[in-house]
């Protein structure tokens, strides 16, 4: 095997087949992927079909707490999970820059395999392209995924109701602040780690245990909690009222945000889910979410009302109230 990616690895010929055999199948092998057909064929499933896609261009490729590979696996699983789907498989599309180190690629593929194993969701089909040096930046990954949604389940932004509680499954802004400090080479705090993780176990737990009570779920990635809430407010023409005091946050993240003048409401999360749910089950849902490891720090952070149609209102630590606007600029390109 070569030490660096060459154009031939994207040719569809022998070098491609070598890369597939000695690297991709080595770590990702399963009965469907092994067939190496142009499309995977999977057994029939009962239920609605969920489908999602995301490309990952995160810089740096390796960061504290993870790398682009597991991020790509978890990110697409989470997009499916937020619709109440049970993810069943992923596709993996790689765009590699000529000259990318094969041992770095191997680390990424290994991490993809580990993330897939942990989540119980296999890669069943894939594609690799190689572009000349300088025409891409190391590696871009697209993952698409299919999930199955039981027929009675309908979870989306427009299901939110006045009175719904707003839950957040854990600490805010971990991924965003980690990427930023890691990219800039800042040694702000050694404890800053990306929160990349799959959320389908958590989401499925509450969807199954509280049928009809889970109205909306979103993972606040790019644009952060502020933008995600704004989108839901805009879609529903309802008011999202949140309490700054109730939002879980690591002290290190809070300190780093203050130091750099960044608002954690707009920083990306890659392992947190926001749930809008019927208030009569508030305590039970909170308890159930906390019983799942990735929901251990779940908190009720606010409530849906009709106070300011289409707006997000934050009650600050000091007791003041301010409107949270959707993100307009780009504080952090290539965050995921």
């Amino acid at each position: 095997m070569e030490k660096y990616i060459i154009l031939d690895h994207g040719s569809g010929g022998l070098a491609s087949q070598n890369l597939i055999g000695s690297l991709f199948l080595k770590y990702l092998k399963n009965s469907v992927l092994n067939q190496l057909e142009d499309a995977a064929v999977l057994p029939p499933e009962h239920g609605q079909i969920a489908f999602s896609t995301d490309s990952y261009v995160v810089d740096p490729v390796f960061f504290p707490g993870g790398n682009i590979g597991e991020l790509a696996v978890n990110g697409t699983i989470n997009d499916l999970a937020m619709r109440g789907a049970r993810p069943i498989c992923l596709s993996l599309g790689l765009i590699l820059e000529e000259g990318f180190a094969v041992d770095e690629l191997e680390k990424i593929i290994k991490s993809i395999a580990n993330a897939c194993d942990y989540a119980g969701v296999p890669v069943v089909t894939g594609d690799t392209k190689v572009v000349p040096r300088g025409k891409a930046d190391k590696i871009f990954i697209n993952t698409s995924g299919i999930g199955i949604v039981e027929e009675n389940i309908n979870i989306n932004a427009s299901q939110a109701q006045p009175g719904d509680i707003i839950l957040l499954s854990g600490t805010l802004a971990d991924h965003g602040i980690t990427i930023l400090t890691s990219r800039e080479g800042l040694q702000v705090d050694a404890n800053l780690l990306s929160d990349t993780r799959p959320l389908h176990f958590l989401a499925q737990a509450i969807v199954k245990d509280f049928p009809g009570a889970i109205h909306t779920m979103r993972d606040p990635t790019r644009g952060g909690l502020g933008t995600t809430l704004s989108e839901i407010a805009k879609t529903t023409k309802l008011c999202m009222e949140i309490e700054e005091n109730s939002i879980p946050m690591h002290a290190e993240v809070r300190a780093a945000c203050e130091l750099m003048g960044l608002d954690p409401l707009y920083l990306a999360n890659e392992g947190k889910c926001m749930v809008l749910a019927a208030p009569e089950y508030a305590e039970e849902i909170l308890h159930r979410m906390r019983s799942v490891p990735e929901g251990r720090d779940t908190a009720i952070i606010g409530r849906v009302s009709e106070k300011h149609a289409g707006r997000v209102v934050l009650t600050t630590v000091a007791g003041g109230r301010r409107l949270v606007e959707p993100l307009s600029g780009e504080p952090l390109p290539r965050i995921c």
Copy 2:
């Protein structure tokens, strides 16, 4: 709307929403995509689920006969079609370079919409990332797709049988030679055009009309017919015997290949399908394929035998015989 893509268009914030609303939904709108949820949810389907992914990095982005957008739509539809699937939906993942012209992007999105309409396969979910100038080359597109395969259908490389006829649905090497001459700025012949087109109508026609008789289908893209046949020979340990004389080819393509010293067997096709089928239906399948517009030039180009296990043997125009090896090098990076 800005004239050029800026980093903000990938932020997940207002600029992203603006791009989605004023460009993507303008052309691609449908009841599922319009919801703008993180994952699309589609009604239940009966049958096996086919799943495929491909990233497109073709250079140049616009070429005679097409552009990267319709290529991405047709390419993934074809990967599904080759397993006997009825494609039901696509995802669209864009990676844009900062500074890419918005009117070029609009042309591409329009062409994606036209290709989807023609094929009857909607884009139901998508994602857009923007990377800084110089970190990608204009635009990369990933399309993934879902199709449904009837439960009794099992079409793949390992189904090929000794005695099977080998059909090719039309002229060879059109896409590959067009991209090469177009990229190099060569004015070889104004009649060179990419053959990008969807093949699911053609594939479904024979799969439905000749149940059990269609053993293997492949669209010989990267690596060309030579590499595709080699893969099938290797998988099945059978011999693929083809006749150079029988392979349809445009005179302009043949001339350009001779001029540039390229073997058309290794050049990419983006709208041709190769079919391995039971010999007792040879004439009927040939006739049926020719009755579909995109199969008009179908020819029987050879036969599966046990003569040289795992090899592809070409009978040349001059009557000699030579082995066709799989592609080893990369004659044409970024062909698709």
